[in-house]
């Protein structure tokens, strides 16, 4: 059974903190994604990685960075968390446009 695992289901952080969201997939997929989902806005792509150490900005990369040092792991970094980054964050991996999603991390920045 395919699996995409996000390190935390719920997270509460303070404004200004550096936040790491981790995602691991066990399917040997080249492509990995980070999205955020907010009510009424659908899923918005933050960053996309198509290979180790390769990344491409999505629609809303501001305030975020990513790291992909190993094929199975894709990390999303909030350099200095702000309250407008409170959201549901979804990680996915894919091959041939079929994506598999993690369970999501609900991040609250206070």
């Amino acid at each position: 059974d395919v699996k995409v695992t996000q390190s935390s289901r719920y997270l509460v952080k303070r404004t200004g903190e550096k936040v790491f969201l981790e995602c691991v997939q066990d399917m040997d997929h080249e492509n990995m994604f980070w999205y955020r989902q907010d009510p009424g806005l659908g899923l918005r792509l933050i960053y996309f990685s198509y290979d180790v150490k390769m990344k491409e900005k999505g629609d809303i990369p501001e305030g975020y960075s990513v790291s992909r040092e190993k094929k199975e792991r894709f990390s999303l970094i909030l350099e200095s968390a702000s309250t407008n980054q409170t959201s549901m964050y979804l990680c996915a991996s894919s091959r041939d446009r079929e994506a598999f999603f993690g369970q999501g991390t609900r991040l609250t920045v206070v």
């Binding site: 492509n31 659908g42 899923l43 629609d59 996915a92 079929e98 369970q103």
Partner: protein
């Protein structure tokens, strides 16, 4: 990447066939059309993918006209459990997946 346009919401009743149409006027020659389904508190799930004409699987059918500027997801005989958000995506082999707002389908008893 080609932009997609789909209705924000649709209502249906149990047992009916539901058709959700997506417009993608700027689709490129290499682009495929993919549909996903998302239930509350879950990540999206792949439903079906096609390039042209008709594709059918155990969940849905996908109809794509010759000009490929639109596509229609068809859900036969929906049930309450088909209440979800449905996303239409268009993208090439590189695999960058851009989701829009999707179509919220509400199935009523």
């Amino acid at each position: 990447l080609a932009k997609t346009t789909q209705p924000i919401s649709m209502d249906s009743y149990e047992g009916q066939e539901v058709n959700i149409t997506c417009s993608h006027n700027n689709i490129a020659t290499n682009d495929y059309i993919t549909w996903y389904q998302q239930f509350p508190s879950q990540g999206p799930r792949f439903i079906i993918q096609g390039y042209k004409t008709k594709v059918t699987n155990e969940v849905a059918s996908l109809f794509i006209p010759a000009d490929r500027k639109s596509s229609t997801l068809s859900l036969p005989r929906v049930s309450l459990s088909d209440t979800a958000v449905y996303y239409c995506l268009v993208g090439d082999i590189k695999g960058k997946l851009i989701f829009g707002q999707g179509t919220t389908l509400q199935v009523k008893p």
